[in-house]
């Protein structure tokens, strides 16, 4: 399945934004995954830690918001500077 590569896209994008915003660590990340997105939420949550290892998100908590459409949306993230 493609959840791992999509999770890696998310990590890449999150790190890019975190660096740009001068954050040191991402503590929490929220995504929205719709029923019609073609993404399985459970497998996404399962592969997320692997994708996040050795990144600014290695300790990040993943929050998945559900919806009924095709959304695969990077909603927000909580970062700190330590």
């Amino acid at each position: 399945m493609h959840e791992l590569s999509l999770a890696m896209d998310l990590i890449e994008r999150a790190e890019e934004i975190a660096r740009r915003e001068n954050a040191k660590r991402v503590r929490q990340i929220e995504v929205e995954i719709g029923d019609l997105s073609g993404i399985d939420r459970e497998s996404f949550a399962f592969v997320f830690p692997e994708a996040a290892s050795n990144s600014l998100l290695s300790e990040a908590l993943l929050v998945i918001r559900t919806s009924s459409g095709r959304e695969f949306q990077f909603v927000s993230m909580e970062v700190d500077d330590v």
Partner: protein, 266 residues
Amino acid sequence: MCRDCGCSTVKHRLLSDFNTSHHHGPSLPTLTLPNNKRRISVEESLFEKNQNLARKNRQWFKSQKLVVFNVMSSPGAGKTTLLCKLLPKLALDHRLAVVVGDQETSIDADRLKTAGVVAFQINTHSACHLDAKRVMDAVGQLGLDQLDWLVIENVGNRVCPAVFDLGENFRIAILSTTEGEEKPLKYPVLFSEADLIIISKSDLLPHLDLNQTTLLANLRKMNPNAPIITCSSKSGEGLEQLADELRYLASGKETPDVSRYANTHT
């Protein structure tokens, strides 16, 4: 969701200047939280990377005057067999090639070559769908200036190929008679966004208990407009009609790359 960039339509309405700001302003809205934390509001689609590449593909195909079909179905619905039957005839009056995606092996490309069709295999390995980048990489090796049509046989999978735009002009969804009446309802994205729906393996109907009326009603529920063609690669039923339909689509009497994407904004 917006098929153009993959963002949710709600965001579009909120954006006053789509072209310049979109979701990519230099600094994102940030909320300060206790304990030195901040919440950064990102609000962007993670399909956007693929959408951007698909848009580039689409522009490039257009500049090459190339018509591109993306053929999708479950594994075994009969995509390769159908293309082997159909394309040699169409190749008499169109310069065409097939790019075929499978996780492993070049069996399908070899079958197509044996049938006399120019074919190029993409192996996706672990991935269960083609994406715009893989297609772009493959077509780079094909010499597109020589071509009128490009047919992409996607990886057999009813779910995710449907959400990855490749930059195609037309999406073709195949459902075989052995798959049952309710599949269009269970896999709504594939069938609702198809420009042409093919019911394959009609030669098997006498052996099956398929209720064709129910199947057609379910397809129409998901997709009121796309032509539906029933055919068999074995008996040849419907193949002539299918060839005509492809010619008609490719003739550009409809421009779904504009209308379809506009529709999905609502």
